[in-house]
Amino acid sequence: MSIVHNVGIADMKIAKDPDTLITYALGSCVGICVFDSKLKIGGLAHIMLPYMPSTSSYNSTKLKFADTCIPFMLTEMEKLGCSRMRMAAKIAGGAKMFEVEGESSIGNIGERNISAVREILKKERIKIFAEDVGLNYGRTVSFEVEGGAMQVRSYAKPLKIL
């Protein structure tokens, strides 16, 4: 029986065929789906911010930041036998939900998240196969581990399957 695993905010989960991973309402956050097509194992991460501050005195979860979450997910997948050579990524999110005048930093988070995710995946040598990023609307991402299809659901917009 296939199970739907709910991935929260600043969270990451790995699942096997025939399960589905889902994360709701990505705003400026980015959802990163990575899968190994041979083993049919997939991971979905929901990051909020690009980089973990080095001087952080907060005991924040590493799953919150792209630069700490993505490598962690890849390592966890490797522990299950996945190979980096076969891993492919699909990403969604990084929107600018509000156009606040004179406050460019508010809108920038999404953009900064997207470029950090791209940079980190490149560094980890994982190719991005599909993207649905930016613009100004929220996205719910569900990721079918079996075929590696990423479904993106948004309000008042047609469903996208990438």
């Binding site: 309402a25 939900m97 509000f98 606040v100 719910t140 309000y155």
Partner: protein
């Protein structure tokens, strides 16, 4: 000593924040009532200290579609304020204000969007101004921005901007109710440092 973590906030401070919310929403409700020429009530404010994950689940679940109007507060206090209305409340506002038929949030016209933004602006301004006056603080507002989308995606914005790297956020949540029992909400999300300034402004020393 000052508040450095949200779990340090004792009941007394929570009560103070609730009272602030009450004053803010009372004034905002009066503005809305005048604007729409209808009776508007307020509920009992609630103060919630939540995880980022819980924050997205407030207000009907992450995928609940709402109209959100957001402004950033600067000056003495760093905070974000959001006025959140659902489809039915939007209908009430637009039909009272514009005397136009409303065909759902997916089909808002430019005029309707700007009317809703303006209502949000009025609500947020009267809310923030009354709090600023009471706590003798300077609170400057940006021009509000509007979004019609999943509430979870919107609530991420104050969580990230104000919570930054901390894992918890404080929400002061106020219900504004119409005669028909429709609910809208004003959310105030202050930074931790700002909480200290608010308490100080009210003459309370944080112990």
């Amino acid at each position: 000593m000052s508040i450095e973590k949200l779990d340090q906030l004792g009941d007394m401070y929570i009560d103070v924040l609730r009272e602030l919310g009450n004053i803010g929403s009372g004034n905002a409700a009066t503005s809305l009532s005048t604007l729409l020429n209808t009776a508007i009530d307020i509920g009992i404010p609630s103060v919630k200290i939540v995880d980022i994950n819980e924050a997205a689940c407030l207000l009907g679940g992450p995928e609940n579609i709402v109209v959100g109007i957001l402004a950033k507060v600067s000056g003495d206090v760093d905070a974000m304020v959001m006025f959140i209305i659902d489809e039915q409340f939007a209908r009430l506002v637009l039909e009272n204000l514009l005397h136009q038929t409303f065909e759902g949030c997916a089909n808002l016209t430019q005029l309707q969007i700007s009317a809703l933004s303006e209502v949000g602006n009025i609500m947020i301004s009267s809310y923030v101004n009354s709090i600023a006056e009471m706590a003798s603080l300077k609170m400057k507002l940006t021009v509000p921005a509007i979004s019609v989308d999943m509430v979870g995606a919107m609530l991420c914005v104050p969580s990230i901007e104000i919570g930054e790297v901390s894992d918890q956020v404080i929400f002061i949540e106020d219900d504004i109710l119409s005669q028909e029992g429709l609910t809208s909400k004003i959310l105030l999300v202050p930074s931790i440092e700002s909480l200290n300034k608010i308490m100080h402004g009210l003459g309370l020393e944080v112990l």
